[in-house]
C-alpha cells in the first residue's frame, strides 16, 4: 500500500486551467464519467458538475497509460455532501486545509455541503470579530463563476475564504491508501 502525492494533481490542474479550461463551461470538459474510466454502477455518473471536474482532473492526473488504469482513490459519482460522509468515515475530513485537499463548502441554510473544489494553495488565516476563524485559499473549481457563486457553470481559478467555524471542511484524499499495483511513477 502507498499514498499519492497531491501535488501531482495540483500541478496538473493548474496547467490545465491555465492553458485551456479557465472560464470555460465546466460541462464541456468534465464528463459524468472521467475520460478513460469505466463504471458498471450507474450511480457513478451522478456527480454534480463541480465534483465532475475534480473527478476528471484526479482521474487523469494519476492515470497510467501502460496499464490503462488510474490510481485516483476517491469513488466516482459522489456529491459534496456524500464526499464529506466518505471522508468522515475514513478520518480524512479536516478543519484546516492543505494544498491538494478537496474543499467542501457548507450551505448557510441547509447545513449540508453544497460545493467542492481543489485547494491549490493556502495563503493565510485570521479571525473575524473574534468569532469566525477563516483560511484564505487559492482554488480551482467547477460550476462557479468569477464571483465564486454556486451553480454558475464555469471552471476557473478563485481566491476564496473558507471557515471551519461555519462548517467548511477539507477532504484530505491523499491520506487514502492505494494498491501498489495501481501506481504509476507519481507516488509520494
Amino acid at each position: 500500500m502507498a499514498r499519492l502525492s497531491p501535488q501531482v494533481l495540483v500541478q496538473m490542474a493548474r496547467n490545465a486551467v491555465q492553458q485551456e479550461l479557465n472560464w470555460k463551461p465546466t460541462a464541456q470538459h468534465a464528463p459524468p464519467i472521467p475520460t478513460g474510466a469505466t463504471a458498471d454502477n450507474p450511480a457513478a455518473a451522478l456527480a454534480p458538475l463541480d465534483v465532475r471536474l475534480l473527478q476528471q482532473l484526479g482521474f487523469r492526473a494519476y492515470y497510467d497509460e501502460s496499464v490503462a488504469k488510474s490510481s485516483w482513490p476517491v469513488p466516482l459519482g459522489l456529491s459534496p455532501q456524500t464526499l464529506s460522509v466518505f471522508g468522515a468515515e475514513r478520518g480524512i475530513l479536516y478543519e484546516s486545509p492543505m494544498s491538494g485537499d478537496i474543499l467542501l463548502q457548507r450551505s448557510f441554510r441547509t447545513r449540508e455541503f453544497i460545493h467542492a473544489g481543489l485547494v491549490t494553495s493556502v495563503n493565510g488565516n485570521g479571525l473575524i470579530d473574534d468569532r469566525i476563524f477563516y483560511y484564505d485559499l487559492s482554488s480551482i473549481e467547477g460550476d462557479t463563476d468569477h464571483r465564486g457563486l454556486l451553480y454558475r457553470g464555469y471552471t476557473g481559478k478563485l481566491r476564496r475564504r473558507m471557515s471551519p467555524t461555519q462548517g467548511d471542511r477539507f477532504l484530505r484524499w491523499a491520506e487514502l491508501e492505494v494498491l501498489d499495483e495501481c501506481l504509476s511513477s507519481m507516488v509520494a
Binding site: 491555465q18 479557465n22 472560464w23 470555460k24 463548502q105 457548507r106 450551505s107 448557510f108 441554510r109 453544497i114 473575524i128 470579530d129 469566525i132 487559492s138 462557479t144 463563476d145 468569477h146 464571483r147 465564486g148 457563486l149 454556486l150 451553480y151 454558475r152 464555469y154 476557473g156 481559478k157 478563485l158 481566491r159 476564496r160 475564504r161 471557515s163 461555519q166
Partner: protein
Amino acid sequence: MRTNEAFTPPPEGGATGDVHNAYIRVWRHVKTSVEIYARQLTTDRDVRDDLIQEASQRLWMEEASRCDIRSREDLLYFKATLTDHMRKKAKSKGIAMDDASYRVPDDLRKQLS
C-alpha cells in the same frame, strides 16, 4: 423554487476570480428587505444607517457565496437572518421598538412558512 438570475459572462482573459465579489451580487438581492426593516425599527436616519451597515457586515462575515442566488429559499433565509441580526443589534443599542419590530418581517415570515 428558483428565482430569475441573469447570465454572468466569464471575465476576459485568464483572470483569477475573487469570491468576495459574491457579496455585491447577494447584497443586491437582500438590500431592499434590509432597508424596509430598518425603517420599521427606527425613524432616526443615522441609527437606520448603522443597522443597515450591521446587516451588510453580517452578510460579509457569513460569506455570501454560500447563498444560492437562484434559490428563493436561500435568499429568504439570508434576509431573515440579516433582519434578525438587525433586531438584536437595535435591542443592544437600546432602540425602542414596537411589537411588530420584534418579529421577522411579516412578508418574509409568510414566504418562509
